[in-house]
C-alpha cells in the first residue's frame, strides 16, 4: 500500500449559511498525481481551499504529513510544504513576472538551477521576466502561477483547473509540463478536461454534491466507459 501525504476524513465545510462539503474522504498517495474530478459546483475548488484553510468553518480531519492541519493558519500550511494554485491563478498583476517569483521564493534568493529548470517548461516566463504579470496572456499567467508554486521544492502541489480557459496548443504545453513535473512531485489537481486528467493522473477521485462518489486508479476509469458516463456524464468518445 502506498503511503499517503494527505488524507481527508469526514470533512464538512460551511461557507456562510451554505453547507458545501458533506463528509469528504480521500487520500493523496505520495509521489503520485491525484485528479479530483466532478461537475461544476460539486465542491472540488472548495476542497482545495479547505485544505489550505482558506475556508475556516470546517469539521472533520485533514491529515497532512502526519499532522492534523484543520484550524492551522494558511501561511503555516504553506510553510509546511503545500503549494496552491487557485482557479483564478492568483497572479499579482501589477508586479512583474520576476517579482511574482521573488514572493514565491520564501527562503530568499531563487535557486538559479531550479529557475532554469522552470524556464525549460515555461520559456515565455524568461522572455517576459521584467514585464507586468497583468499583461501576460491567460496561458502565460497559468504558467507563472504554476512556476511560483514550484520555485522551491514542495511536498504537495494543489492546482485548481490548470487547463481552464487555455487554447488547445497551450493545454498541450501545460500537459507536457505536468507530465515532466509529476516525475518527482506529489500533486492533487482539480480538472474538468478529462483528456488532460487521463494523461496526467495516476489516481482519481470523483466528487458530486460535496462528497466523494468514486476513488480508484485513473487507468480503471479510463477503461470503464460506463463508469465514466455514470460518474462524469460523459464517455471518452464524447470528450475528445
Amino acid at each position: 500500500m502506498t503511503d499517503s501525504i494527505l488524507k481527508l476524513e469526514g470533512v464538512h465545510t460551511h461557507i456562510g449559511h451554505y453547507h458545501i462539503l458533506h463528509g469528504v474522504d480521500f487520500e493523496v498517495p505520495k509521489n503520485q498525481t491525484t485528479m479530483l474530478l466532478g461537475r461544476n459546483g460539486a465542491g472540488k475548488s472548495t476542497t482545495l481551499r479547505t485544505i489550505m484553510s482558506l475556508w475556516t468553518d470546517v469539521q472533520g480531519k485533514i491529515t497532512y504529513d502526519g499532522k492534523d492541519i484543520v484550524g492551522m493558519s494558511t501561511p503555516k500550511i504553506a510553510c509546511d510544504g503545500i503549494a496552491y494554485v487557485p482557479e483564478d491563478m492568483g497572479i499579482f498583476g501589477q508586479l512583474t513576472v520576476k517579482e511574482n517569483m521573488v514572493i514565491a521564493a520564501r527562503n530568499g534568493e531563487m535557486d538559479t538551477q531550479r529557475l532554469e529548470w522552470i524556464f525549460n517548461f515555461f520559456p515565455a516566463l524568461k522572455k517576459f521576466w521584467t514585464k507586468p504579470a497583468g499583461k501576460l496572456s491567460g496561458g502565460q499567467k497559468q504558467m507563472l502561477a504554476v512556476a511560483r508554486a514550484i520555485i522551491e521544492p514542495r511536498k504537495l502541489l494543489l492546482v485548481d483547473e490548470p487547463s481552464k480557459g487555455l487554447a488547445p496548443s497551450i493545454i498541450d504545453n501545460m500537459r507536457d509540463a505536468f507530465l515532466e513535473l509529476k516525475k518527482d512531485q506529489t500533486m492533487l489537481l482539480v480538472e474538468q478536461n478529462f483528456n488532460f486528467a487521463k494523461a496526467v493522473g495516476d489516481t482519481v477521485c470523483v466528487m458530486d454534491d460535496g462528497k466523494i462518489v468514486h476513488s480508484g486508479s485513473m487507468q480503471e476509469l479510463i477503461e470503464d466507459e460506463e463508469l465514466q458516463g455514470k460518474l462524469l456524464g460523459l464517455s471518452m468518445d464524447s470528450h475528445q
Binding site: A78, C79, R106, S137
Partner: protein, 385 residues
C-alpha cells in the same frame, strides 16, 4: 503569445519618449490644465480687470503660489500617504487618521517645549547685530529649540518628530488591535469604529492638555521667507516640502526595492495569495498601520509649526484634505496620493488668489467632483500601474 505590444517595446523607450509619454497621462493633463488655466486666468484678470496688478506682478504671484502649493502638497502627502496605504492593503478607511495627526502635533509640541525649557540658559544678545555696547544688549532665555544654533534647533525638532511618531505609533498599535481588528471586512462598522475612535482620541487630547490650544512659534531658522529675485517662499514651507519629498522617495524605495514593499504591493492586490505563499499578512497589516500613524503624527508636528499653533480641531480640517487627496489620486494608490496632494494644494492656492468665493474646502471638493466625473477611480488608480 498574446502579450500586449507595449510590453515588448518598453525597454527601447528613450528618456525623452518617457517624459513625452508622461504628458499624455491623466495626471499630467490635470496638472497642465490647473497650471496653465490659473496662469492665463490671472493674466487676463490682471490685464483687463485689475488696475492694481500687471501681468508681471501676477507672474511673480503665480510662481509664489505654485511653490507654496507644491511644498504644502508634499506636507499633505506626508500625512495622507499612510492612510491610503492602509486602505489599499487592509481595506480600512481610518477616519481617526486626522485625530492622530492632531495627537502628533501635541506630542511633538510638548516634547520640543519641554526640551527647550529644560535647556534654557540666560544669554545677552545684541539688539542691533554687531553693536556690542551694553545699552544695546538684552537678556534672553535661550533653550535648544528657540536658539540661534541651527544644530541644536534641528536636534530638538528631530526629537519632537520622533516622540510624536513613537507615541502616536504605540497608540496606533493598540487602536488597530483593539478597535480595527474586530471590524476587518466590515466597512460600515469600520466607519463607526474609526469615527468613534477619532472622537475619543480628540477628547483624550483635550483632557490631557486641559483644553489648551498652545501657540507653537517657529524657531529662527524656519521663521520668515527666503527670496530669489522678487519671489518669496516661507522657510517652513520649504522644510515641509523637503521632508515630504524625502518621505515620498523613501516610501517609493521601500515599496519598489524591498521584499517588505513587494509584499505590501502584493497584499494590496490579494491578501489571500500573500498568505498562500506563506507570509503572515496580519503582521504586515500591523506594521503598515503603525507606520501610517507614525507618519501622520510626524506631519502633525510640522503642520503645527506651519500654523504656529496646536489645536485639536486641526484633525477635522486636515482630514477633509487628506480624504480628498486620496480619492482624487485613486484609493489605495501611493503615487496617486502624491499627485492628489499636490493638485489639491495648488488648486486651493490658486482659488484663494483668483476666486476667493470658492476658496478653501469648496475648491478642493469641486476639484474632487470634477475629477471623479471624468475618472471615477481617480487620476492614478492602482489598476493602471
Amino acid at each position: 503569445m498574446n502579450v500586449a505590444a507595449d510590453t515588448l517595446t518598453e525597454d527601447n523607450i528613450s528618456l525623452g519618449q518617457k517624459v513625452a509619454g508622461w504628458f499624455t497621462t491623466p495626471q499630467a493633463k490635470v496638472f497642465l490644465l490647473v497650471l496653465v488655466g490659473s496662469y492665463v486666468w490671472g493674466v487676463i484678470r490682471a490685464v483687463g480687470f485689475d488696475d492694481s496688478m500687471g501681468a508681471g506682478d501676477w507672474t511673480i504671484n503665480w510662481i509664489e503660489l505654485f511653490l507654496a502649493g507644491i511644498t504644502m502638497g508634499l506636507l499633505l502627502f506626508l500625512m495622507a500617504s499612510g492612510m491610503t496605504l492602509v486602505f489599499g492593503l487592509m481595506g480600512v478607511f481610518n477616519l481617526a487618521h486626522g485625530a492622530f495627526i492632531a495627537l502628533g502635533a501635541y506630542v511633538g509640541y510638548q516634547a520640543i517645549i519641554w526640551i527647550d525649557r529644560a535647556t534654557q540658559v540666560t544669554k545677552m544678545v545684541e539688539i542691533i547685530p554687531g553693536l556690542k555696547a551694553s545699552a544695546t544688549l538684552r537678556v534672553v532665555e535661550l533653550g535648544w529649540f528657540y536658539n540661534d544654533s541651527l544644530g541644536l534647533t534641528t536636534l530638538t525638532f528631530v526629537i519632537g518628530i520622533v516622540a510624536a511618531a513613537v507615541v502616536a505609533g504605540l497608540l496606533g498599535f493598540f487602536f488597530e488591535r483593539i478597535m480595527i481588528k474586530p471590524v476587518y471586512n466590515n466597512p460600515l462598522n469600520q466607519i463607526l469604529v474609526t469615527m468613534g475612535g477619532s472622537i475619543i482620541l480628540a477628547e483624550l487630547i483635550l483632557a490631557f492638555w486641559h483644553g489648551e490650544t498652545p501657540a507653537f512659534p517657529r524657531p529662527d531658522f524656519i521663521a520668515g521667507k527666503w527670496f530669489v529675485a522678487d519671489i518669496g517662499i516661507e522657510k517652513v514651507r520649504v522644510l515641509a516640502g523637503v521632508i515630504g519629498f524625502i518621505v515620498f522617495v523613501v516610501m517609493n524605495a521601500i515599496l519598489n526595492k524591498t521584499k517588505i514593499g513587494l509584499l505590501i504591493r502584493a497584499g494590496v492586490e490579494s491578501q489571500e495569495m500573500v498568505e498562500v505563499h506563506g507570509y503572515r499578512i496580519k503582521l504586515l497589516f500591523i506594521a503598515v498601520f503603525v507606520s501610517a500613524i507614525a507618519l501622520a503624527a510626524s506631519g502633525g508636528v510640522i503642520f503645527g509649526l506651519f500654523e504656529e499653533a496646536v489645536h485639536v480641531h486641526m484633525a477635522e480640517s486636515i482630514l477633509i484634505m487628506v480624504i480628498v487627496a486620496i480619492i482624487v489620486g485613486g484609493m489605495g494608490s501611493v503615487k496617486g496620493c502624491f499627485y492628489g496632494s499636490l493638485l489639491i494644494t495648488l488648486v486651493n492656492n490658486f482659488a484663494n488668489a483668483l476666486a476667493p468665493a470658492v476658496a478653501g474646502e469648496a475648491s478642493t471638493v469641486l476639484l474632487m467632483i470634477a475629477v471623479l466625473m471624468w475618472r471615477p477611480e481617480g487620476i492614478d488608480p492602482i489598476t493602471s500601474h
